[in-house]
Amino acid sequence: MTSFILRRLGSGLLLLVVISALAYLLLSLPGTDVGRHVLGPAAPQDAVDAHNAGLGLDRPVAVRYLDWLTSALQGDLGRSWFTSEDVSLALANRLPVTFSLMIGVTLVTAVVSFGLGVWAGVRRGAVDRAVQLVSVFGYALPGFLVTLIIVLVFAVRLGWFPAIGYTPFSRSPGGWLATVTLPVLSLSVAGIAGVAQQVRSSVIDVMGRDYVRTLRARGLPTSRVVFRHVLRNAATPGLTVLGMQFVGLLGGAVIVEQIFGLPGIGAMTVQYTTRGDIPVIMGVVMVSVIGVILINLLVDVLVGWLNPKARVA
């Protein structure tokens, strides 16, 4: 198991380097003039050139990338070209916000979707149709539209939660809960719909397997067969989809953080990325890809634990 994890982390690191090279190359395509962007259209050309030279932009892309990579490997992600903010520090300040959002969403999604999926898959009939209908709509409505509806209903009309703003957990746990409830709810809807569908169909599939009949023929209670055997075998596809949802969650967080005014990575992405601030974009890309790699690893380890046949090494 340890060697499996180490091997996966190794290949993850390789992936990270390849993606960083690719991203750096694409971002450095000619088209944006950073110096012009910073100094404004009225600035004289030699001032713009000087500014670009100051950022090292007069050197070849490959050299710039290797520079970036060398310091990145030492933990220094550089400074923003526009605000001179230290990128690592900015990320460290904003990560906890996005992170708490994601953990909340993943927990809510896992619990609700597995519950609904098992319920629908075992009970079938009317329950099944109702769960399917609800999840089709949850999946069909664009995430940010769902968010807007939630804001409109719970914050604007009912006034139960603040529509905007963030309270750190360390300052007030209650305030933190109030500010993250609606964002978590908004981000969970699509995930619940997708994962519940997956769990439902794998539960139905597993319920029809020969070994389920044999287990029941041994006189085991149906509930025990469902929760010990069916759930364990049906969990794999559900977990895989849950892992994939996480990647999508990063995108969803961008919009949700913007709508709720949360100072997370997503909001940062919008502010800095649109200006072509390469050090910041690279930082965000690195953090997201690391998150994806770790989540995929976690899913694989969980799947291996659930399903001995899938265990590697």
Binding site: L15, L26, L27, L29, G31, T32, R124, G125, Q132, V136, F137, A140, L141, P142, G143, F144, L145, L148, I149, L152, V156, M207, G208, R209, D210, Y211, R213, T214, L215, R216, A217, R218, G219, L220, P221, T222, R224, H229, N233, V247, G248, L250, G251, V254, I255, I259, G266, T269, V270, T273, T274, G276, I281, V284, V285, S288, V292, L306, P308, K309
Partner: protein, 605 residues
């Protein structure tokens, strides 16, 4: 601007001038009349197609439905109420909302179509090639796909916009590339799975060119899932694009649904109603796409609705048991009278597959239930266990198990009988063990649940059971997972599981069919020994008369859901009365290796 904007409905006729096109819109991959009819009779599919068709017509022919310029702003009209040809009134800049809605849809739908087209163009051919040829191309593509899938789409799109500019079309091309792995995986998986299929091999043997095989055989299989995925991606693209525009990262002044939502959101306190129209347009369109995909999937995968079952006390049978003592006195262990099994089919009709079967098994007796496949013998066995597959039910008759009527009894009562009164040995050993649990778990779980043994007691008893079924290294097998043992071992484990709670009746469904010939003989010997030692009654379902001769005291011959002949094994094998039985006997004697002449053995009764 494209004329046909429904990505998932390639055949939608866009007749100019009509508000709603004819509902003939989309069918599955090919117009097979049955599929098309089922699709059109589904209200969900029809509704979704109508909504999509309406949206497409309104948007494509926007100038026909509104006379106003979507960008003509007049601040004195700001927040103006509907009226005077302005169907939905004015927005905060005094622009006509209806007109912006229709023209905005062009960018939104066109962008989605572009994304789907790019994803198809990239994903499908690569998936076909990787799945069909495998090899290095497959490895390289898989690695590449994993890389793309690790990229957070939103971040890439934002970065793209920073580098390549604000055009929505460029963003949609990038989005298409980002979602192409979805198509790639779908196509590659399907193709790789069917590459080994016999008919593809056959086509290759016949000398068909690869391109022809791909078009004729492979594309036919992936068509349906690709169309479904296309509709889903289109819905997703619409949502994502609107999301980007909502963030203000759209195409500048172009009216789009996302930009309209953005504008409405900033005025949410003053005029929340402005969120309604673009929200409704967006929600309806993407919901229609996903619903369409869902109904396409239902139709193409022919997923019938499950028969509705009541909650709580699930009944095993429907009708009140009618006891017909047609065959005289009923046996003490198992007595089946006038048993009928009926299945509810996907279209709601029902079909009876077992028509009034009478059977008796006395204590310690081995009854063989023989017949060709499809004769209803397995259905009869499952009825005795109360474990008919989904859709099946006992529709008539009576089953007495150790004196208890099980037809119509609640699942809970039936469960109490399973394991210690009646137990089950299945046909296919490997698929009957839960792959996630060790052999030890399989054996100890019923012991702990049914008999209430402690962990150590259960372990000791399970090891003892493994010894009884002649497994050479019980300790190691106990720790093994099902995939680590052979089929013959697995069948011994299943027999050990069946006898673990000392059942009175063993229902064995073709217990040796799936095994090698040498292993068959060993397992039969084991069954014979255990039966004699424990004095179990056995209902042995088989099509193999050699097995019958080996093991059974009496034989019931089944054909087309009915018992056609019952008698002692000697009677049936030596002097069959029915032509059908004679046919079965001839068939066996023709293709089995020569064996010793059958010797009548002592009946156990």
């Amino acid at each position: 601007m494209s004329t046909s904007v429904t990505p998932s409905t390639p055949s939608t006729p866009s007749t100019p001038g009509t508000a709603v096109t004819s509902p003939t819109a989309p069918t599955g991959p090919k117009r097979r009349s049955g599929t098309a009819r089922r699709f059109l009779t589904s209200p969900q599919a029809l509704g979704a197609s109508l909504v999509l068709a309406a949206v497409v017509v309104l948007v494509v022919f926007a100038p026909l439905f509104t006379a106003h310029d979507p960008n003509a702003a007049d601040l004195k009209d700001a927040f103006g109420a509907p009226g005077g040809g302005h169907l939905l009134g004015f927005d905060s800049s005094g622009r006509d909302v209806w007109s912006r809605l229709l023209h905005g849809g062009r960018n939104t739908l066109g962008g989605a179509l572009l994304a789907v087209a790019v994803a198809l163009a990239v994903g499908v051919p690569t998936g076909l090639a990787a799945g069909y040829y495998g090899g290095w191309f497959d490895s390289v593509s898989n690695w590449w796909v994993n890389l793309v899938m690790a990229l957070p789409a939103m971040v890439v799109l934002l970065a793209t916009r920073a580098v390549l500019g604000t055009t929505v079309w460029v963003l949609m091309v990038v989005l298409g590339v980002l979602v192409a792995p979805g198509f790639y995986r779908l196509v590659r998986g399907t193709v790789a799975a069917m590459r080994g299929e016999l008919y593809v091999d056959a086509a290759r043997v016949f000398g068909l060119r690869d391109s022809r095989i791909i078009v004729r055989h492979v594309l036919v299989v992936v068509r349906a899932p690709v169309i479904i995925q296309g509709a889903l991606v289109a819905g997703m693209a619409i949502g994502l694009q609107a999301g980007l525009e909502f963030l203000g990262i759209g195409s500048g002044d172009l009216p789009t649904w996302g930009a309209m939502l953005n504008e409405a959101f900033t005025n949410i306190q003053r005029a929340p109603v402005f969120m309604l129209w673009p929200g409704l347009a967006l929600g309806l369109t993407s919901a229609a796409l996903v619903l369409l995909a869902a109904s396409l999937r239902d139709v193409l995968e022919d997923r019938g609705t499950a028969p509705a079952t009541g909650r709580g006390a699930r009944r095993l049978g429907a009708d009140a048991p009618t006891t017909l003592d047609s065959a005289g006195e009923r046996a003490d262990l198992l007595s089946v009278r006038d048993l009928a099994v009926t299945y509810t089919l996907a279209d709601g009709s029902s079909r009876e597959v077992v028509h009034g079967v009478d059977l008796d098994v006395r204590r310690g007796e081995v009854l063989g239930l023989v017949g060709e496949s499809g004769s209803g013998k397995t259905q009869t066995a499952f009825s005795v266990l109360g474990l008919l597959p989904e859709g099946g039910r006992v529709s008539r008759g009576s089953i007495l198990l150790d004196g208890t009527e099980v037809v119509g009894s609640a699942e809970k009562e039936m469960r109490n009988l399973r394991g210690d009164t009646v137990a089950y040995v299945p046909q296919e050993p490997m698929s009957n063990l839960d792959p996630a649990f060790t052999i030890g778990d399989h054996l100890t779980e019923p012991l702990r649940v049914k008999l209430g043994l402690s962990r150590t007691q259960a372990r000791a008893r399970a090891l003892d059971l493994l010894r009884q079924v002649e497994i050479p290294d019980p300790e190691r097998t106990f720790r093994s997972h099902p995939h680590q043992i052979s089929g013959g071992m697995a069948q011994r484990v299943l027999i050990a599981g069946a006898i673990s709670c000392d059942p009175d009746l063993l229902v064995a469904d073709e217990p040796t069919t799936a095994l090698d010939v040498t292993v068959q003989a060993e397992v039969l010997g084991l069954l014979r020994r255990l039966q004699a030692e424990r004095g179990m009654g056995v209902l042995l379902v088989t099509h193999n008369l050699g097995v019958v001769a080996d093991l059974c005291d009496r034989v019931a011959v089944m054909r087309q859901g009915r018992i056609v002949e019952v008698g002692t094994t000697e009677q049936i094998l030596r002097d069959p009365q029915e032509d059908y039985t004679r046919g079965l006997l001839d068939a066996v004697l023709d293709d089995t290796p020569a064996r010793e002449p059958w010797q009548p053995r002592e009946a156990a009764q």
